[in-house]
Subunit: 220 residues, 2 copies
DNA sequence: AATAAAATTTAGACAAATCTAAAAATATTA
DNA sequence: TAATATTTTTAGATTTGTCTAAATTTTATT
């Protein structure tokens, strides 16, 4: 089965929302898609007809197994292309999302498989998000956000939660990138902000909000 | 200015047709686009409104300068992506057209420029067709078709005219690819077919129709 | 439980890109 | 040049994805 660009965008968005909330509701999807609730309802009917969705009027909805697989196909392509853009074309990691949002809809299966091989079958995209394999299997890592790790312990940045341009811009300013060694020197009880040390940089302070969106794992 | 996928496909097709015939007519464009004459007329009105086209009802049409530049942008992307697919992803040259037909519509200017650099600013695509630069300038080469070169002279294959899957498949069978050294041993007056010698291969015979679509230039 | 507020769906409209069938213009030919 | 054939355009319909405004359903609050 193959889907339109619009269908694919909806499917992927529903997938991400249901990872967080289980059932998804119309308004939150409309907000994510930057469209109107009425348009969402229209698309839900279509996706239900195509048997990708469990959906009862007024009761919320979520992807079924076929829907999840379809979503993971799009996610896989999105993240592989992001990896290509950063690793091969030297884009900054905060500039690739919009382009991958288009590239993820190119339909050739063989293209995706060859791209995957060309890139060396990467497991994580430039934002640290896992790249599903062609069967939809997702690699896992143990990671915690910066707010929860013990003081002085040196850890490695593995992914970022909030991936808005604003956030990525801020991380660039702090010289925080994937793989960056980092440690927490002090936790301020007043507002939850952290004094951190990035390798080769002076200590600096980040807000609790930033800390919660920086995920790290043990140095290998 | 940016255009829809459909507009870009029409613009590109008109460009290629007018290279051959000057003025283009509705039916031939409809045939090329695999659509109906009525649909072509609709699109012509749209492109005229967008000032890409000289068009008088019943009198034929052609792209103006703005239209040609728009077409060359699409051609440039198409051929750069084809080069990428063959040189980086190891696709066979006869498998890349349909995929490039999608990739050519990805809109980022920066992407195209970075791709161009990543590929080493190639001048010709895998079928030997010139790749316009970002200003729409097209590299030229002196080339003739195989039917017109002197017997025994060793020349190099530089491009192919007919690029149908059938033709490319046939050339693969003859071990004719871009850059292949080749010479004509004998010309048969009966049907215009040629006995040719491909380097490292036994002599063989190709039809006049094939010969006319194989372009060659002097060995450098 | 009744009322108000919020969330969701329906009804009806629109733009883009396509189609078929019919009308109009142009070209061919007897 | 008049009849015929071909080409092109128009008229009107259809599909997809979107919208606004109104109606309906669910949830929250007196
Ligand atoms: Mn997308
Ligand atoms: Mn990403
Ligand atoms: Mn195309
Ligand atoms: Mn080509």
């Amino acid at each position: 089965m193959s889907y339109t660009v619009s269908e694919e965008n909806y499917i992927k968005r529903i997938y991400h929302l249901q990872q967080e909330t289980g059932l998804v509701n119309t308004n939150s999807l409309a907000a994510e898609m930057q469209t109107r609730a009425a348009s969402v309802t229209d698309m839900l009917k279509k996706l239900k007809t195509k048997k990708l969705l469990q959906y009862e009027k007024y009761k919320g909805f979520k992807l079924n197994e076929a829907g999840k697989k379809a979503a993971l196909d799009v996610v896989r392509k999105h993240r592989l292309w992001e990896y290509f853009l950063v690793e091969k074309l030297q884009f900054d990691w905060d500039k690739v999302h919009a382009i991958a949002e288009e590239l993820e809809h190119i339909s050739s299966e063989e293209l995706v498989q060859r791209l995957d091989n060309f890139l060396g079958n990467p497991s994580f995209d430039p934002h640290g998000d896992p790249i599903p394999d062609r069967n939809g299997k997702i690699p896992v890592i143990n990671q915690q956000n910066l707010g929860t790790i013990p003081l002085k312990k040196i850890v490695t940045v593995s992914s970022v939660g909030n991936q808005s341009a604003e956030m990525l811009d801020m991380l660039k300013h702090y010289h925080i990138a994937l793989g960056t060694p980092i440690s927490v020197l002090k936790r301020f009880e007043f507002d939850g902000s952290l004094e951190i040390k990035v390798l080769h940089r002076n200590a600096c302070i980040i807000s609790e909000q930033v800390a919660k969106n920086v995920f790290v794992h043990d140095v290998q």
